[in-house]
């Protein structure tokens, strides 16, 4: 660390603070926990205290390193190279796509939201050809839908439940 630059990495500082705060939350949560008397020699608190305490010490140590100029090397990207400055537009688009998917999947169904998600992510990461991307998005989604619902017998929502008349309440006949 002899050649560490004087400049402190701000993002790194924020992230380390986040880790530190997490450890504090763990410790506080553990100390507020009500322990029943029947727990024997080691209850659920001990391990949580160890983990919280370890993280508290390590993140405090890391904080010192960061303040002294330590900087993490961003991880490499397989099909390209990492940038120094963040690219907020594509990132925002991906987050939007994920949030839209989570919010609307049960309303509009997988066959609509699947292609939308694929299209938006592809667009964000740099596909130029819209029509081709749209076609691929639909084909891949249909393949995934068939694979999961028919092949693996798992449930994916078709959506549009609101169009159906509310089903009559069938009384559970009791078990």
């Amino acid at each position: 660390m002899a050649l560490a630059s004087k400049q402190i990495a701000k993002g790194e500082l924020v992230f380390t603070s986040f880790l530190f705060a997490t450890s504090v939350v763990v410790l506080v949560d553990t100390s507020n926990m009500v322990e029943s008397n029947a727990v024997g020699f080691v209850g659920p608190k001990v391990f949580a205290y160890i983990v919280g305490g370890l993280m508290f010490a390590l993140s405090a140590l890391q904080m010192i390193f960061v303040l002294r100029g330590a900087k993490g090397e961003p991880e490499g990207i397989e099909a390209g190279s990492p940038l120094e400055k963040p690219n907020w537009r594509p990132f925002g688009l991906v987050v939007l796509a994920l949030a839209l998917y989570a919010a609307l999947i049960e309303i509009l169904g997988f066959l609509i939201m699947g292609p939308v998600l694929y299209f938006l992510v592809g667009k964000a990461i740099g596909v130029k050809r819209n029509v081709l991307l749209a076609i691929v998005a639909v084909v891949v989604s249909i393949a995934v839908f068939i694979g999961f619902t028919q092949g693996l017998q798992l449930y994916l929502p078709l959506g549009f439940d609101f169009l159906q008349p509310p089903s009559e309440n069938i009384e559970d006949g009791g078990w």
Binding site: V25, F47, G72, V94, G114, V127, V140, F148
Partner: protein, 496 residues
């Protein structure tokens, strides 16, 4: 070795269903190894939803085949693309790509494929022989011994991986914290649930792994990545070797296996270390003979590729015999076992001998299938490299979110995935390794259980944790493993 069960396993693995899943696994694995951005751990985690319906034997056969296959496929990108498909192939790139530029791509691909086969076969043989012995020891281990082994895994993976020991261990702590969330199984006390009912069930391991690997990567690429088209070395037809290639390859294959296997058994953090060691060894040995290193030496491909595959097989020993994963991929496989409520470990060999031996036999068969697939089809795999990366990322995200949803048929998991994905992005950005986190989440609850069992037995006396020679030995080993790289760096600094 348990020969009767081994033959039984072979017979069971030769059923049509199991063979199909093995074949599917080898194809998917090779595909995953070839395609940039998807590693074996991510691939298996994206496929974890199959554990909800497919029978355990078939699913585990497929996962094993994916693990081996991706090691195979990684060499193809290294040689033809000068871009290692995953971290274990970095060393192959050095000489392999130079060979390809000199028009010797076929020989490079062949020595990688055959070397992987040789290493995989030898290593799987050792797994078959060693696992029951380790399992025998395992039955005699106390909770404190198991706890010591898990601390060893935590310590080595946390301290060895990543740019600094503190970063690695902080990543591990984050995993342990995430593992705490939910109800304590023994007392029903809720930890870190903040009165959110959904959190009492804890965070689904599958969701966590998928979002850390898949969403974390995609979000990272979107925010900080610039994808660039890659230069490809053309290759068509069969991958073959000349007589002199064979003569120069077999030594590195065997030495690579000898290096790769033990480093897979020990929690040394995956395949970076053994491939590096094998490469340096071959380079030093070549100085005496025809030294082509730097210009495309076949030894520099043969050794690391063998080490790579032997390493993957070596990781199966602690996974099956002790239930202890030593790499990210093995950790994800452990998650798959847990999905089936199967507890790998010493008892597994007694409880489910057919499952274990079928899995081991399938690794043999999968290895053979890989060889058959790869020599003639190397050119076809190479074509896949033409798929532009953004199309892949769309698919990865789609698969990840479908996987998260089908677990419980609930959008809650998708929101959790988004949050964990953002955490994965931050880890990548600030140089924190993800593997220790995964290990912490999966092994943390198990470690706590053994910890509490040990202390329960000793009426709360913590000395029980180092009471047996085994546990004491493990802690000493941990101290050595963590200290050696530091001492080496210190010594190197002093000399230079």
């Amino acid at each position: 070795m348990d020969f009767g069960h081994f033959l039984e396993g072979f017979a069971a693995s030769l059923t049509l269903t199991n063979l199909m899943f093995g074949l599917l696994g080898t194809i998917l694995g090779t595909l995953v190894g070839v395609l940039p951005g998807i590693g074996p751990a991510l691939a298996i985690s994206l496929l974890l939803p199959v554990t909800l319906t497919v029978d355990p034997t078939a699913a585990l056969i497929m996962f094993g085949a994916i693990y081996y296959g991706s090691m195979f496929g990684g060499s193809t990108t290294s040689i033809l693309l000068n871009a290692p498909g995953e971290s274990g192939s970095v060393m192959t790139t050095l000489e392999g790509n130079k060979m390809a530029r000199n028009g010797r791509a076929g020989a490079a691909l062949a020595t990688a494929a055959i070397g992987s086969f040789v290493a995989g076969a030898i290593a799987t043989g050792i797994v078959a022989m060693a696992s029951p012995t380790i399992a025998w020891i395992g039955v005699r281990m106390t909770p404190a011994d198991f706890f010591a082994l898990m601390v060893l895994a935590f310590g080595t993976v946390g301290a060895v991986l990543g740019q600094s020991v503190v970063r690695g261990l902080l990543s591990l702590c984050m995993g342990l914290v995430l593992g705490l969330i939910g109800l304590d199984l023994q007392t029903g006390a809720s930890r870190l649930t903040f009165d959110v009912p959904k959190l009492t069930d804890g965070i689904e391991t599958v969701v966590l792994i998928v979002s850390l690997f898949a969403l974390g990567e995609v979000l990272y690429v979107a925010l900080y990545g610039r994808l660039s088209p890659v230069n490809r070395n053309a290759f068509k037809g069969f991958a073959t070797m000349t007589k002199s290639d064979w003569k120069r390859s077999w030594g590195p294959w065997l030495r690579g296996t000898a290096i790769g296997f033990p480093t897979g058994v020990l929690p040394a953090g995956g395949s970076e270390l053994p491939t590096f060691l094998s490469y340096s060894l071959e380079k030093r040995l070549a100085k005496k003979k025809h030294d082509e290193f730097g210009k495309g030496a076949i030894e520099g491909v043969a050794g690391p590729e063998a080490a790579n595959n032997a390493n993957a097989a070596g990781a199966m020993v602690p996974l099956l015999a002790l239930g202890l994963p030593t790499s990210a991929t093995a950790a994800v496989m452990l998650a798959a076992f847990q999905q089936f409520d199967i507890k790998p470990g010493p008892l597994l060999f007694n409880d489910q001998p057919v499952l274990v031996w079928t899995l081991i036999a399938s690794l043999f068969i999968g290895n053979l299938l890989l060889l058959v697939l790869n020599l003639p089809l190397a050119g076809v795999w190479a074509k896949l490299l033409l798929i532009p990366a953004p199309y892949l990322y769309g698919g990865i995200v789609l698969f990840a979110l479908v996987g998260a949803y089908v677990l419980n048929g609930d959008t809650w998991e998708i929101w959790v995935a988004l949050v964990i994905g953002l955490l994965g992005l931050l880890f990548r950005r600030y140089g924190y390794p993800v593997t220790p986190l995964i290990l912490g989440v999966i092994l943390g609850p198990m470690a706590e259980q053994e910890f509490r069992r040990a202390l329960q037995g000793s009426a709360g006396d913590p000395m029980v944790l180092i009471a047996t020679p085994f546990s004491l030995g493990v802690y000493i080993l941990l101290a050595i493993v963590v200290a050696i790289p530091k001492l080496y760096a210190f010594w190197k600094n002093k000399n230079s």
